[in-house]
Structures are given as C-alpha cells and as structure tokens.
C-alpha cells in the first residue's frame, strides 16, 4: 500500500469534487433562491443569490393559482396505492418463482423479465385504448391498475428470496407449516430490507411519473403533481417565482426523504442495475 499524496494535492482534489458537486446542485439552489424573491427582483441584472423576501408569499400564491394541494394528495394516493399493491403481488410472484417448483417456471420468469425490454412509449397508444375501453379514462384506477406489479420488483425480490437458506423452511415444513404460512412468517420477515428497497423505488417512480398521467388524465382535479407543475396556465409561465415555488413543492420533499433513505437506494441499484 502506497502512501497517499501530500495534503495540498488532496485538498485540490477534494476542492475540485466539491465545486462539481455545487455546480450539479446549482439548479436546485437557484430554484430555492428564486422562490424567495419578488417578481421585480427576479429580473434584475446581475442576478443575486441572496434572497430578498423572507416569507412564503410566492408559495401561497402558487397554491392559489394552481391546485397544488390537490395534485399532491392525488399523487400521494396513487403512489401509495401502487406501492402497496406491488408489495403484495410482487412478493407473491417472487416467492412462487424462487421457491415453488412448477412446470414452465423458467418460461414464466423469462416472460416477466422480458417486459423490461418493452419501453412504455411503445405500448402507450394501445394501453391508452385498453384502459379507455375498461372505462378507466380519467380515473385514479387508470394510474394504479396498470402498475399493480412490475418485473423490476419481482426480479429484485426473487433474487433476495433465493439467498434465504432453505433449512429454515425445511424445519417449518417438518412442523407442518403450509406454503403460505412459510411465506408469511419466515420469508417476508427476513426480507424486510428488500421489500423496503423495492417500495422506495416504486414510490419514487410513481411520484415522478409524467407521461402516462399526461395522456390518461384530462380532469385537472385528478391530475398528479408532475403534470400539475408543468402545465401552462395563462400568465403562469412568466411568473418564475411562482413556478419555482411549485417545483420546490414537488421536489424538496422527495430530496429530503431521499437523504434519509439514500443508503438503501443506492445499494438497490448495485443489486439490480436496472430502472433508470
């Protein structure tokens, strides 16, 4: 093991990384600063990074002009529903694929994983028609039902279930436990980290979803936050203070949440290497 380089060089490297870090996050800093400026202050040259007003008036006005509270609740409802459903369906499917031998298991697994190769843009038009014909156009169900299970979640959970030693189950079978009982009292409690990681991914993906709600939801009362903040209400597009306030509402809760759970999150990518 060689000695690390002298301290000045180390400081230069760390300084360089820190500068890049600030540049990468500058848009968020700029967003926050803008929300604490007056409409006139925003159009001043040169721009200042120091806020001028220290209250939430831009946020209040943003909430008045666009129904942000409504969008937030809608999004929360949809994202939580999808996460709950995926926990149930994905873990069941993953258990079946990991532990229950049945004919055609490999084919079923391949078919499920194969869906990852199909980009949502390609199936969007027929999916739109199918969902419409099921009578779900403009409903929350349209945002929930098609996403009840995901190949990504099944894959992640299956990989985890397969690492659980079989001895535990064999002991339970000796004691007369059925499959469902093993699943419920042995597999699931042992898989909490994987279930948690999957839930984070699913929730985040649903929170950030834009394209599908854009096409399938017409009724603004049922719209989600990402489409809500990017819509063009007359006059809204030039009021950058308000648009930044709306973006802050959509972004900051997620960033704060992420800071708490980032460890599971980043490790999840290394496990699965999927889902961008």
């Amino acid at each position: 093991m060689r000695k690390p380089p002298p301290i000045p060089i180390r400081l230069i490297v760390i300084g360089a990384i820190a500068v890049v870090m600030i540049i990468v996050n500058l848009p968020f800093i700029w967003m926050l600063v803008t929300t604490f400026k007056t409409e006139a202050e925003v159009f001043r040259i040169p721009p200042s990074f120091i806020p001028t007003i220290f209250d939430l008036r831009n946020y209040e006005r943003a909430f008045q002009i666009v129904a942000l509270d409504r969008y937030l609740l809608n999004t929360l409802f949809v994202a939580l529903s999808v996460t709950a459903l995926q926990l149930v369906f994905n873990s069941l499917a993953a258990y079946g694929l990991a532990r229950i031998p049945f004919r055609g298991r490999k084919i079923v697994f391949a078919m499920l994983i194969g869906t990852l190769l199909v980009p949502p843009e390609v199936t969007m038009v027929p999916l739109y028609i199918i969902v419409r014909q099921m009578g779900m156009f403009n409903t929350y169900r349209a945002l929930i039902v098609p996403f009840m299970s995901s190949a990504f979640g099944i894959f992640l959970l299956r990989q985890f279930f397969m690492t659980i030693p079989k001895d535990l189950e064999e002991a339970a079978i000796m004691d007369g436990a059925g499959r469902m009982r093993i699943f419920w009292s042995i597999i699931l409690p042992l898989s909490k980290p994987a279930l948690w990681t999957m839930s984070l991914y699913v929730f985040l993906a649903m929170w950030n979803e834009y394209m599908w709600p854009l096409v399938i939801i017409n009724d603004l009362n049922k719209q989600v936050i990402q489409v809500g903040i990017s819509q063009f209400v007359s006059g809204w597009e030039v009021q950058w203070t308000l648009r930044m306030a709306a973006s802050t509402v959509a972004v900051i809760p997620i960033i704060i949440f992420f800071l708490f759970v980032q460890k599971q999150f980043v490790e999840g990518i290394s496990i699965s290497g999927m889902k961008g």
Binding site: A18, M21, I100, M111, P146, M148, V215, I254
Partner: protein, 280 residues
C-alpha cells in the same frame, strides 16, 4: 397460483398492448370512425414523411450529444470518488445522485428558467465571459443543446453509481501486484481499471443509449418539440401523432419502428463489444 396475478397484469398491460401496437399499425384509426385496414400504408407514409426523418435525425443528434458526455463524466466522478484516501465519499455520492431522484418534469421547469433568454442564470453567467445572450429555448440552433445539457445533468449520477459498483468488483490484488512492479497511477488506470471495467462500461452505455433514445419529458415541458421542429424527438413525434392528431394507426407504426430500432441497437452493441470487453 401465486404468480398468476402478476403474470396476468403484465400480460394485459404490456404484452397485449405490444401485440396490439403491431396490429393497429396496419390500420387507419382515429377512435371516432371505425378501423380501416390499410396494409403497410402507415409505414410507407412514415418513411416518405419528412417530419419522421426529422425526428429520427433530432433523436440521433440527441443521442450523440448525451451518451458519451454522460458516460464519461459519470466515469470520471466514479474514479474520483473511488480514491482510497478521499473523505466524505458518501456525502459526495449522495449529492451527485440528487438530480437522478428528482422528477424530470420539475427539473425541466427549473432548467427552463435557467435557460430563459433575458434573465436566465445561464446567460447571466455566460455574459461574465462576454458570451451571449443566447436565446436557448427560442433559437433552433441552441434548443437541442439546452436539452442535451439537461439530459446529461440528469444522468451522470446514475452512471456514476453503476461505475462505482463496477470499480468495487475489481480485485485489489491486481493493483497491489502493479504497485510492487512500480506502476504509476496513470498506468494502473489505463492497464487495469479501464480494461477490467469494460463490462460495466458496456452496460452503462447501453442503458444510457436507451434512456437517451426515450427522451420525452424535457421536450414536452421545455420546448414542445419546437421551435421549427428542432427538438421534435421520436417520442414526442409519436405523442403528437397519437394524442394531438389522433392518428393511432400511424403513431403505432412509429412505436413499432422505435421498438425494433431499440432492440437492434442493443443487440448490435452487445455484438460489437463482445470482442473488446474483458471479463476479468
């Protein structure tokens, strides 16, 4: 059967639409009048349509502009964060990852403000160097560049984390052996890290390629394909045909071509790289 609910939903909401997309692409259909079979007309119309080729060209430029940049910057950051004596690695990693977890829609709204022509931050910063002002989102020469910057910014953290995972998999014995032979940092990088990282690199390139091919949200929020179709990428072209002009058959033909192209490119990249990738 426990797998059945998932299998059914995946079938109804992914495979059925995929098959149906191919089917509809042979029809003329706008949801109002009944479907009419027109054979390959949608395809022949598409291939003789300038707008289609424009969208292919714009998408191609976007891919060329984003894939190398986001992969190389991601690799560079990963190499920096992988330095052994570096402190605060976790903080840096988290900070670089923040753009990845934020929604593209919100990010695009923020970037639209940064790229604003008169008072946007980008032009203000550039004016310090005597450049500009550039009308980023109004001048067809610059709109795609603006979108590329957003696309690269959004993805470098993701690529970095994939590279970091790849770097962890390189056995440290290689480096120890090289150090005994007196190898310099640069030599180790070129002779050990780069070759042994090549499976990860291939993986990152393919994922980035697909992500760039699928760009939609930033276009939809920031430019709506304009001005003068300068940012009308293939996904936005598909979206407009389907949901603005209600040409479902034509839009499905675009979707089918998109799908085939993505498959072909993925397979090609695997093939081409097969001989060059070293599995340590």
């Amino acid at each position: 059967m426990v797998v059945l609910p998932s299998l059914t939903t995946q079938f109804i909401f992914i495979y059925l639409p995929l098959i149906w997309a191919v089917y509809i692409s042979f029809y003329n259909w706008n949801m109002i009048r009944p479907m009419r079979y027109i054979g390959l007309d949608n395809y022949t119309r598409m291939f003789s349509n300038e707008s289609f080729w424009n969208s292919m060209w714009v998408t191609f430029l976007y891919i060329i502009g984003t894939v190398p940049a986001s992969v190389l910057i991601g690799l560079g950051l990963a190499l920096l964060l992988n330095i052994k004596w570096l402190k605060g690695r976790g903080i840096f990693r988290t900070a670089f990852y923040i753009p990845v977890i934020t929604s593209m829609a919100a990010a695009a709204v923020i970037w639209a403000w940064i790229f604003e022509g008169n008072y946007g931050l980008m032009n203000q910063l550039l004016s310090a160097f005597g450049i500009g002002p550039i009308r980023w989102l109004a001048d067809p020469n610059f709109t795609l560049i603006a979108l590329m910057i957003v696309g690269v910014w959004k993805r470098i953290g993701y690529n970095m984390v994939l590279f970091l995972a790849g770097l962890q998999n390189i056995p440290s014995t290689y480096y120890e052996a090289a150090e005994i032979d007196g190898a310099k940092t640069w030599t180790k990088l070129i002779r050990i890290t780069v070759p042994l990282l090549s499976p990860t690199t291939l993986f990152v390139v393919i994922l980035q390629f697909i992500a760039s091919f699928r760009v939609f949200v930033s276009v939809s929020v920031m430019t709506q394909g304009g001005p003068a179709r300068s940012t009308e990428v293939i996904t936005f072209y598909l979206y407009e045909n389907a949901f603005r002009y209600l040409r479902f058959g034509y839009a499905s033909a675009i979707a089918v071509v998109m799908f085939i192209l993505m498959m072909v490119f993925t397979v090609l990249q695997f093939r081409i790289s097969k001989n060059r990738v070293h599995y340590g």
